[in-house]
């Protein structure tokens, strides 16, 4: 069995190799600042070049009804639809709505889980941007409470 230390050494090696190759997978990536500055679902979709926005039963958002701490709110987004270009995770009442954007390829499923910070109780969204520019979403409410003794 590989020890963690060996894994580390290997990782460093891999990092070196990838650095030498100039991170090919980042070559075309341009961070979409406008989308990450947008305050609303509509504006996020617009910044990503999308068109219509509609709720869809084929998109799912999973998260807790109540989060004991807003610093870490587990959220999963998924869809069974084909022809998805991007999957987004949004928290409506955060200073900027978009948490994460995943670019789809044929090699992955349209299903991602991550954890978001939430400043207050809010609706959270899973959004699938389709190849034709349509944005299909699902939403749910997550309440953020104060878990500790507040001291």
């Amino acid at each position: 069995m590989q020890t963690r230390r060996e894994t580390l050494k290997q990782s460093a090696l891999v990092a070196g190799m990838l650095a030498a190759a100039g991170f090919p997978q980042f070559a075309n990536a341009a961070y979409n600042k406008a989308a990450f500055d947008a305050k609303t679902l509509q504006d996020v979709v617009k910044a990503l070049g999308g068109s219509t926005v509609a709720e869809s039963k084929d998109v799912t958002i999973t998260g807790p009804d109540i989060a004991e701490n807003g610093a870490v709110v587990p959220l999963s987004v998924a869809t069974s639809l084909s022809g998805v270009k991007q999957m987004l995770v949004l928290v409506e009442k955060n200073p900027a709505a978009m948490v994460a954007m995943f670019n789809m390829t044929d090699s992955i499923e349209a299903s991602f889980a991550t954890r978001a910070k939430m400043g207050q109780s809010s609706d959270v969204y899973a959004v699938a941007i389709m190849a034709d520019g349509k944005a299909l979403f699902a939403k749910k409410e997550v309440k953020v409470t104060l878990g500790g003794c507040g001291g």
């Binding site: 891999v14 990092a15 997978q25 989308a35 610093a71 900027a96 670019n103 992955i108 991550t114």
Partner: protein, 103 residues
């Protein structure tokens, strides 16, 4: 240099579930320190993954992904023994790549 990631990639059928933990502060740029000064934003902005060297996933993140981020995704056509590598790059231009073997 940033601390290594923890990557678990488990094959089941013709796909593999990948779970990644990254060591990063993910400063939102909204938080004030003890002296009341705004702590500048510093977060992972780009994440990507390769399977046996071939790009399979890329993502862009904002400042509201939680500290020490967790990410889960599913790679099609991955089998035990395959090499799954994950790379992140943050707003300071720092980056880190770690690799795991699909089990």
């Amino acid at each position: 240099m940033a601390d290594p990631m923890r990557i678990r990639a488990q094959a089941s059928g013709d796909k593999a579930t990948v779970r990644v933990l990254m060591s990063h502060e993910m400063e939102s740029g909204q938080r004030k320190d003890a002296a009341g000064k705004l702590v500048p934003a510093w977060f992972i902005q780009e994440v990507s993954a390769t399977l046996n060297g071939k790009p399979v996933m890329s993502a862009e993140w904002g400042p509201s992904v939680s500290k020490n981020p967790f990410l889960q995704f599913t790679v099609k056509g991955a089998k035990a023994g395959d090499k799954l590598a994950v790379t992140w790059k943050d707003t300071k231009g720092e980056s880190r790549t770690d690799e795991a073997t699909v089990s």
